[in-house]
């Protein structure tokens, strides 16, 4: 005990020395945010819980997307591919072999990282950049969708159901409907994803990746292996996104080709990151917190409109139209995203 007591402050000091101030600050904020958010379900109505959980899934995806596209500078328009690989790996291993979703999650993350590295390697080898890179990743996601539709062992278009267990199980990651574990688990996963982001951004590979994003030629002339340090954020990004996919499957107990690889999955990963601020630690979270509940809030408002807007009641499509207008306005008028714009103002 005493040895530990003596060692701890030393170790802490060592850690402090190794971590740049920025990273330390981010980690402290993260801890604070997680603690505050852990108590969120206690103050919001129960009906808001599914929306909160969906928002957390968005946030994890956006944090993942941001690693590759924000910090790595490779605009992915096909993150559905990596989300889907994570989701299907978990679903398949669980239903075919009874593998615990926790293991499925890790295997899926690894597989997804491999797939992502392969796709990105091909795209980079053939020198695709900008819109071309985006369209290539999109095409891969589409191909995954089409291939899944033709895969017998993945149940083709029917998708895979996660069987309902008679009682709660930590090892099988299944709880009662409305259990708060379904909120806390993705919250912790999000915390891990953000921690991965912070560590990466302030690490040597992370610094290299950002240098390459800013100017690959200059980075290469400083001795940086461009391909290698581009693929590292890709791998991390895909792994994080796959974890979101695996959790998604466990929470919704179902995954189908469209839920896994549909175009909307890719945009779900992009929108929060862009709204919040690309290439920032907190942008994806803030973006998700705004965008995730937005459509539910608008829909809720229209379900119970104030008297002078009564005539709007029951107009289907209106909620999404309003959501679309808000989305457009945020993107057009906050060029660096919410967090990015705030940060810029503060700096000035």
């Amino acid at each position: 005990m005493t040895a530990l007591g003596v060692a701890a402050p030393e170790r802490l000091a060592d850690l402090k020395r190794r971590l740049p101030t920025g990273a330390r600050l981010h980690f402290s904020v993260l801890a604070l945010v997680l603690v505050v958010m852990a108590f969120l379900p206690l103050v919001v109505p129960e009906s808001a819980l599914p929306v909160a959980i969906r928002t957390l899934v968005f946030a994890i995806m956006a944090v993942g997307w941001n690693l590759m596209s924000g910090y790595g500078g490779m605009f992915s328009f096909g993150h559905a591919a990596f989300f889907g690989v994570g989701a299907y790996t978990n679903a398949y291993l669980l239903t075919a072999f009874g593998v615990s979703p926790w293991i499925g999650m890790i295997v899926g993350a690894g597989l997804s990282a491999g797939v992502g590295v392969l796709i990105a390697y091909l795209c980079l080898k053939y020198k695709l950049a900008g819109s071309y890179f985006a369209l290539a990743t999109f095409a891969f996601a589409q191909m995954f969708l089409l291939v899944t539709l033709n895969m017998e062992f993945l149940n083709k278009s029917e998708g895979i159901n996660i069987p309902l267990l008679p009682e709660e199980s930590w090892s099988m990651l299944q709880f009662d409907q409305g259990s708060l574990y379904y909120y806390w688990i993705p919250l912790v996963l999000l915390g891990v994803a953000v921690a991965v982001s912070i560590s990466f951004v302030y690490s040597r590979p992370g610094q290299f990746a950002q240098a390459i994003r800013d100017d690959p030629t200059a980075a290469e002339s400083l001795g940086i292996k461009v391909m290698k340090y581009r693929l590292i954020p890709v791998a991390l990004s895909c792994a994080v996104t796959a974890v979101a996919g695996a959790f998604y499957t466990q929470y919704y107990l179902f995954i189908g080709p469209d839920q896994a690889f549909g175009l909307h999955v890719s945009t779900d990963a992009i929108i929060p990151a862009v709204i919040g601020g690309i290439g920032t630690i907190w942008g994806p979270l803030i973006g998700a917190a705004v965008i995730g509940p937005l459509s539910a809030v608008v829909a809720g408002f229209l379900r119970d409109p104030p008297p002078f807007l009564e005539f709007l009641y029951g107009t289907s499509g209106l909620d999404i139209a309003i959501y679309a207008i808000l989305l457009i306005l945020i993107v057009v008028f906050l060029p660096k995203g919410i967090y990015g714009t705030i940060r810029e103002r503060r700096r000035k």
Binding site: G178, Y252, F254, S316
Partner: protein
Amino acid sequence: MKKHTLVVVAVAVALGMSGCSGTSNVAAGGDSVDSVTIGSIHPLSGSLSGVGGLMNAGAKMAVADINEAGGIESLGGATLVLNEGDSQGKAEIGQSEAQRLISEGAVALIGTYQSDVTQNVASVAERAKVPLVIDVAVDDKILEQGYSYSFRIQPDATSMGASGARSLIAMGEATGTEIDTVAYIHIEGAFGGSVFEAFKTEAEATGITVADEITYSGANFSDATTQVTQALASDPDVIVVTGYFPDNLLIAEAVNALKPDIKAVFGIASGAYDDNSFPAAAGEAASNILSANYHYSATSDRVADIRTRFEAANGESMETASMLSYQAVEVIAAALEESGSVDPEVLRDAISALSLTDPLLEFNGPIEFDENGQNINATVVVMQVQDGAVEQVFPTEIATKEAILPAFSR
């Protein structure tokens, strides 16, 4: 330590929440309540919003009709309230809408039109122990999970494929039309695939050859000429079709353009051919197309009255899907009446034990659910577009017009 406290707090809060949110749940056991909430989930936006809107309107009308007739008597005349959810056609939105509706006090759910969304909602219903009455959703698999809180009024894909085949054969015999080979065009995926498999098994058992199976992708289909030409290459007597509205329309138009020497186009579980907007949309191409599908009863006065009032109120023709939503509300209302309880678990047992006579659809008998929750008397009837209107033509007892078969004189 900290973790434990968190859990305790959370559990306490969760209990508190479920306690206060269910305004009607607590008043179980024949007590009189003011109102009972039913949650409905349909695609009110997105690509399926057309039919979703009609279904929602059907459910709304059922609620209004029941309330006008005095509400639920055994609950002291409690009125029904419909809490509407929009799935946007997405499974995960459907699921969170289901959770919202339940937490806002819905004692039963109806929905949802799409199989994947229904699948998700069914699992929510099962875990929350709230009955789900499926109005439309065709996939067999939904009820094969062993769920005890899901019930389905419409026939499933397999039984539609099989009874479609039986109807076709019977109609051929009745009209003296020789049907030896058919070619089948269907949408890729579980829906098209399982209807086709069931049809094939049934048809081949009676000696009909399924000469060709042509599938297409629903995600990208803007011309059916190739598929129809391909189907005709096997020289079939009948082309059988399963798919959704736009693809069905394209196929009918391609057949009309090619004017092949076949005896009929026969839709099974087809999205278009028995839809009242189809004759106008397809014009000449719609003429004499047959369709085996579940259908609102065209011979019942009660149905005629509902449809007239629906059209007056909504300005649109009430399609079968919409009638099924109406029917789903009636099923729940009947179970409420029967049990005199707003406890969802008691309600489930009541639905399970229900025998609802005078169904609004052409079924073989009253609505009764088997142990899987499938309505055992659900069946298909055959319709045909004649003179710009969808008519029931088979079985003959419920026919509004006589079947024209061979459908084409070429």
